[in-house]
């Protein structure tokens, strides 16, 4: 699946769009570095990652030209700290005001990411703002607007509309099997550019860049724990369950259950009860009561892996 890089006219320039399978921020940073090396000042409106993470990896001569507008730390402007940039400030005048704080001259505007803005403002408003930025910023010359778009997050109609407005679109995606060698994963970038003369250029190039080693993991960074630590896993594995046959082959519940680890809701058994006649007892379950405040002890989800570890409730 391809991601895309789009640029918005009238300021030409590519901006990457990516998908969960292949990130485009690395490519965006190469465009940023290229603009800085050309002597342009680069205003980055960052909403998705902290400023330190965005600046990481740039040479000193690039970072000196980088002016970061922080929309990540306080996007809703709750703390009201100076220097932050909120979603509601993304208007032509708001952006032009921030640009005016930088040096005059050729300027590249970078949006990281456009998807973040499109999830908070309607598309027509965002497109109109982008079109008006070069006109509103009278004190400097906006040469290009680069924006990162996460293609996965938007319906195809919206992506097509942005494609039609942009001067150049660069898509990033994983390279086919067998392409490239070495440590870094190869990626393919395809660019579609509309020139002022009316020509349309299409180019496909291969590049290698190291994607951060993260997968799409919805269970990461949660306030509760969906996974087990090693000790918790061992405790769970050692848990005896009421429905297991003994090694000697007795049916379950022909003898009363004996739980050494779980604490029954009704209180711990004082001593082993007398054997009951051989008829099945109605099953009853014990829910382990959490012993620590930090997190609940997970329910035993799987039976013990080996028969030798079965603590047969029937062997008394």
């Amino acid at each position: 699946m391809w991601g895309e890089t789009i640029s918005i006219s009238p300021a030409p320039g590519p901006f990457p769009a990516d998908t969960a399978e292949c990130e485009g921020r690395s490519l965006l940073k190469t465009f940023v570095a290229a603009s800085a090396h050309r002597g342009e000042s680069v205003h980055v409106f960052g909403f998705e990652i902290p400023e330190e993470e965005f600046r990481a990896g740039f040479d000193p001569d690039v970072t000196v030209r980088l002016l970061y507008q922080d929309g990540f730390t306080d996007p809703l402007r709750w703390t009201g700290e100076a220097g932050g940039f909120g979603a509601e400030e993304f208007t032509a005048l708001g952006v032009a005001g921030r640009l005016a704080r930088g040096p005059a001259g050729p300027t590249t505007v970078v949006l990281d990411s456009l998807s973040w803005l499109l999830l908070r403002q309607p598309l027509p408003a965002v497109c109109q703002t982008l079109g008006q930025i070069p006109r509103a910023a009278t004190s400097l010359r906006v040469t290009r607007i680069l924006a990162l778009l996460h293609e996965d997050l938007h319906p195809p109609g919206l992506v097509e509309t942005l494609r039609s407005l942009a001067r150049a679109v660069v898509g990033v995606g994983p390279a086919p099997e067998g392409m490239g060698s070495g440590g870094d994963a190869p990626h393919l970038a395809s660019m579609l550019q509309r020139k002022g003369t009316g020509k349309v250029l299409k180019k496909v190039g291969e590049g290698k860049w190291r994607c951060p080693d993260w997968g799409v993991d919805p269970a990461a960074n949660l306030t509760f724990n969906l996974r087990l630590s090693d000790t918790e896993r061992r405790a769970r594995d050692g848990m005896s369950l009421p429905f297991h046959f003994t090694v000697s082959g007795h049916a379950p519940f022909s003898q009363p259950a004996h739980f050494s680890q779980a604490t029954p809701l009704l209180g711990p058994p004082a001593q082993c009860p007398q054997p009951l006649p051989s008829r099945p007892c109605p099953p009853f379950f014990f829910l382990p009561v959490p012993t620590a405040v930090s997190g609940p002890t997970p329910l035993p989800l799987a039976p013990p892996t080996s028969s030798s570890s079965i603590q047969s409730p029937l062997s008394l």
Partner: protein, 337 residues
């Protein structure tokens, strides 16, 4: 039902066209090709024809400054330049004919008349010819009276409105057109004072997101009727004035097809452009001579009760160095012989 600008203009289909005449059709809708290249070209042809004929222009856009659009209009070809162009073509065809051996298998076609390029006399000529590789001269542009509507400019005049939704944008455009029609007397307001002239209106990329409309990006738009209401009111303005209008629209982006049906109903002429750029037809040998296809969805039935009886609808266009031509596709024409 017809405006006073009605005339004999129509799309010629049987020969190689060098002019697609939009002259006399009250409202003409041009459905944009995917990258908007050729529809922009036809848009500019329409306006250039207005300049050469001495008409007044009204250019509306939400994307490009109208002044920049006018600066890029194609330059009209003078008679001498046109004759040279035609002579070049004739020489090319003659040399091709001489080198051609007599046909062996297709001998039945040997006696068919050759395609001849004739340039009709100026009096019989319909429209003008343009050189796409050159832009119109600033002097010709200065002698033209034109009016502008640029949506970002209108919005900056009213900064209290932060974003212009479609209703706001379309309403402002209609008000602007109405004001110009009234002030300049195109509706007969000043019958004796001014010489009658025609107003050519060009609206670029109507319905796109830059006009504040979301029909291009949403299947269930916020206001599905705003575009059709605009067209309905515009039609009324055109009918009661000496004006003609061309509108380009990114139909390939409009998600809801019912909207396109209504828009087609509200227009007099609807022409769709399909360019081969980026499609598999670009490398298809059948289409090697052309850059795209023209689909005529609707032509005006002027004072007529019969339906569309045009001979063929298989039209293709090509852009060669200087000229934009529309032709019947040769493969099908050969079958018709």
């Amino acid at each position: 039902l017809l405006g006073p600008t009605y005339g004999t203009g129509s799309i010629l289909e049987n020969t190689t066209l060098e002019v697609l005449d939009f002259n006399l059709l009250p409202s003409s809708l041009n459905l944009e090709d995917k990258y908007g290249i050729y529809s922009n070209l036809l848009f500019k042809y329409f306006l250039a024809e207005g300049i050469v004929c001495g008409h007044n222009l009204f250019v509306a856009s939400a994307k490009e400054d109208p002044a920049d659009i006018l600066k890029e209009l194609p330059a009209p070809l003078s008679d001498d330049a046109l004759k040279n162009q035609v002579d070049e073509k004739e020489t090319a065809i003659k040399s091709k004919q001489e080198s051609q051996e007599s046909m062996k298998i297709a001998w039945r076609y040997q006696n068919l008349p050759r395609i001849e390029v004739n340039i009709p006399a100026a009096s019989a000529r319909f429209g003008h010819y343009y050189d796409v590789s050159k832009v119109v001269s600033p002097e010709l542009l200065q002698s033209t009276k034109w009016h502008r509507f640029f949506l970002p400019e209108e919005m900056s005049l009213h900064p209290e409105i932060k974003t212009c939704n479609m209703t706001c944008g379309y309403t402002r455009l209609l008000q602007s057109i109405q004001r110009i029609i009234y002030q300049e007397g195109f509706d007969g307001s000043y019958p004796q004072k001014k010489q009658k002239n025609i107003l050519r209106i060009g609206i670029q990329s109507l319905g796109s997101v830059l006009w504040g409309d979301d029909i291009c990006c949403a299947h269930n738009p916020e206001d599905i009727y705003s575009l059709t209401k605009f067209l309905y009111v515009l039609r009324g303005l055109l009918r009661m004035s000496l004006s003609a209008c061309i509108i380009t629209m990114p139909a390939h982006l409009i998600q809801n097809k019912a909207i396109m049906e209504r828009v087609t109903n509200l227009s007099d002429t609807v022409v769709g452009l399909e360019s081969f750029i980026g499609s598999e037809r670009e490398t298809n040998p059948l289409y090697k001579d052309y850059q795209g296809l023209i689909h005529v969805h609707k032509i005006p039935q002027l004072n007529s009760l019969i339906c569309d009886v045009s001979g063929t609808k298989d039209l293709a266009f090509r852009l060669k160095r200087k000229l934009f031509t529309i032709e019947v596709r040769e493969t099908l024409r050969d079958f018709n012989v």
